[in-house]
């Protein structure tokens, strides 16, 4: 079955507490295409993301999932298609047509991006507190005591001891760096979080703890999220809906449990059956 997700209706139980019954999707992606010369990065991808919903994108390496994420999150400029976002200030807007200051403002306030490698998302030369405080200072916070208070608060939420606030992230373990990156991103209260392999490169027990934390935060804050991963266990835990990509195309979409328990497309079947059972 070759499914396109443009007309995919969100599940009624997919929307959770948080934004409540919203009539418009938070994010709508229409026919997004990105080519690298003659090769395609991703082709004709469309989906809606509703407030409070977590969308997982899975696929093998080179399937275009990271390209898609970068195009949607504004890090790459797609060749075709539209990315519509329901902004707080002025309603639904095409992110690609926004002015650069507006887009950058959106990216550091209402959006968050969690990189696979925490070093890409952190400022390694300044302390953990400054890392968390940077976004606050970026939107005009100028009171040291309050910035530090919020940094402490967020370090607590991601289970980093308060006494580590003045340590540089280089002195942190991989798992702590990843949690710090999450705190740094969520401090401005974003509504939409993009995650690129958030658990990549971490050992399994740290992965489990991080997933638990992300799940808690997403539920508690009513965040919407797009999570790119090749790890089916991650999406099983976090995602409400799933998109399976192969060769730049979306080959299957549906509720996570439905796709994983009853995969229709041959590639999805292969993917699900490749998971090692311990």
């Amino acid at each position: 079955m070759s499914a396109t997700s443009a007309d995919f209706a969100p599940s009624p139980d997919g929307g959770r507490a948080g934004e409540g019954g919203s009539a418009t999707p938070l994010l709508r992606v229409e026919a997004l295409t990105k080519r690298y010369g003659p090769r395609i990065g991703c082709a004709d991808v469309s989906f809606d993301l509703w407030p409070g919903e977590v969308l997982g994108i899975v696929g093998e390496s080179g399937s275009g999932k990271t390209t898609l994420l970068n195009c949607v999150s504004g890090h790459l400029d797609p060749d075709e298609g539209r990315v519509l976002y329901d902004t707080r200030a002025s309603g639904v807007q095409d992110v690609r047509l926004m002015s650069e200051p507006e887009r950058r403002m959106l990216m550091r306030t209402d959006w968050a991006f969690v990189h696979q490698n925490a070093r890409d998302g952190l400022r390694m030369t300044v302390s953990a507190g400054a890392n968390v405080g940077e976004r606050l200072m970026g939107v005009g916070a100028r009171h040291y005591g309050r910035i530090r208070g919020q940094a402490l608060d967020w370090l607590g939420k991601v289970e980093i001891a308060a006494e580590r606030i003045d340590d540089r992230p280089a002195a942190f373990s991989g798992g702590m760096q990843q949690r710090l990156q999450i705190a740094r991103n969520l401090v401005t209260g974003p509504r939409l979080v993009f995650m690129d392999e958030p658990t990549g490169g971490l050992d399994v027990s740290v992965q489990a703890r991080l997933l638990d934390l992300i799940r808690g935060l997403v539920r508690e804050l009513g965040l919407s999220a797009v999570i790119v991963t090749h790890d089916l266990a991650v999406v099983r835990l976090l995602a409400d809906r799933l998109m399976v990509m192969k060769g730049g195309h979306v080959v299957e979409t549906g509720l996570t449990d439905q796709v994983l328990d009853d995969p229709q497309h041959a590639y999805t079947q292969l993917l699900v059956s490749s998971v090692l059972q311990v």
């Binding site: 650069e100 200051p101 950058r104 400022r123 030369t125 300044v126 302390s127 507190g129 400054a130 405080g133 940077e134 976004r135 606050l136 200072m137 970026g138 939107v139 005009g140 100028r142 009171h143 040291y144 005591g145 910035i147 530090r148 606030i165 003045d166």
Partner: protein, 292 residues
């Protein structure tokens, strides 16, 4: 030989014109770093090649030049640059702040208030205030263009978290006319208040980095800070040991190997003028005796 071999003030007229165009643009956009085609100068980078080029482009034969290095008129850098312009431009030079029409400086602003008839030229090693926080030049330029300066406060935050107060004491970042964040060159933060609303034209030249920027006269310049950690220009417990001044920037001078030290004005011209006027500090001899 120099008279025939060199154009007035060393640089050729086309180069001066190019620098003046950059200067005009810099004055029109206070605090904005204007690129310019910096020339090789007969001195090494780090010795004030940017300042020298700006001075050369500003000098006229009627000007009187003063050159200071860390406030002093008699240190190597100041003496060589003064000699350079004496030979290549033949202009009058002076050590008195009030007599100078063009003052080239490294690391200080003179203590004596400047006037509308004066130009202050700064030597700048690194013009980009965001450099050590964001190494990508493309990104820092974009941050300037969009006035995204949150990162500058990250540095001040780091200072407070590590030292309990803003420990940046020189090259203290400033906001010019509510728009551009600027590195005031490595002047002590003590001099930052003098940047603001100054009657004199202030020009900044960075030779190696090929940037010129400016603060036109009577421009608002604010030192960055936090609401609960306001900017503090700093002060000393001591007075100048030679002239007794209590309101100047002091250098600490080690006098022996048993912990002996004295604090003296870094602005030598100012200190001498005060001593000539009869002020004597704790370790100073009366002016006539000392000069005799």
């Amino acid at each position: 030989m120099t008279a025939e071999a060199y154009n007035f003030a060393y640089l050729d007229e086309q180069t001066k014109r190019m620098i003046r165009r950059a200067l005009l643009k810099a004055v029109a956009i206070p605090g904005y770093q204007v690129p310019f085609a910096s020339r090789e100068m007969p001195m090494p980078y780090g010795w004030g090649t940017g300042g020298v080029q700006v001075t050369a482009a500003c000098l006229t034969p009627d000007d009187t030049l003063k050159v200071i290095d860390q406030g002093a008129d008699d240190t190597t850098n100041a003496v060589s640059i003064r000699k350079f312009f004496e030979r290549t431009a033949g202009v009058e030079t002076t050590e008195e702040t009030e007599e100078a029409t063009v003052i080239q400086t490294r690391h200080r602003i003179p203590e004596k208030p400047l006037t509308e008839d004066q130009i202050l030229v700064y030597q700048v090693p690194i013009p980009e205030p965001l450099r050590f926080l964001e190494p990508r030049e493309v990104e820092t330029r974009r941050m300037h263009a969009l006035a995204e300066y949150g990162l500058m406060h990250v540095k001040l935050y780091e200072d407070i978290s590590q030292h309990g107060h803003i420990a940046t004491t020189y090259a203290y970042p400033v906001l010019v006319e509510d728009r551009y964040v600027m590195d005031p060159s490595p002047i002590p933060k003590f001099d930052n208040p003098k940047l603001s609303n100054s009657p004199a034209l202030q020009l900044f030249g960075a030779g190696r980095e090929q940037r010129i920027y400016a603060i036109p006269p009577y421009t608002q310049v604010v030192s960055l800070d936090f609401e609960d950690h306001p900017f503090d220009p700093g002060q000393w417990d001591e007075d100048c040991a030679l002239c007794g001044a209590s309101d100047t920037y002091l250098d600490e001078v080690i006098t022996d190997d048993r912990g002996g030290r004295m604090f003296v004005c870094s602005d030598t011209a100012h200190c001498r003028a005060r001593r000539a006027a009869g002020h004597v500090g704790a370790m100073g001899a009366p002016y006539e005796e000392a000069e005799a």
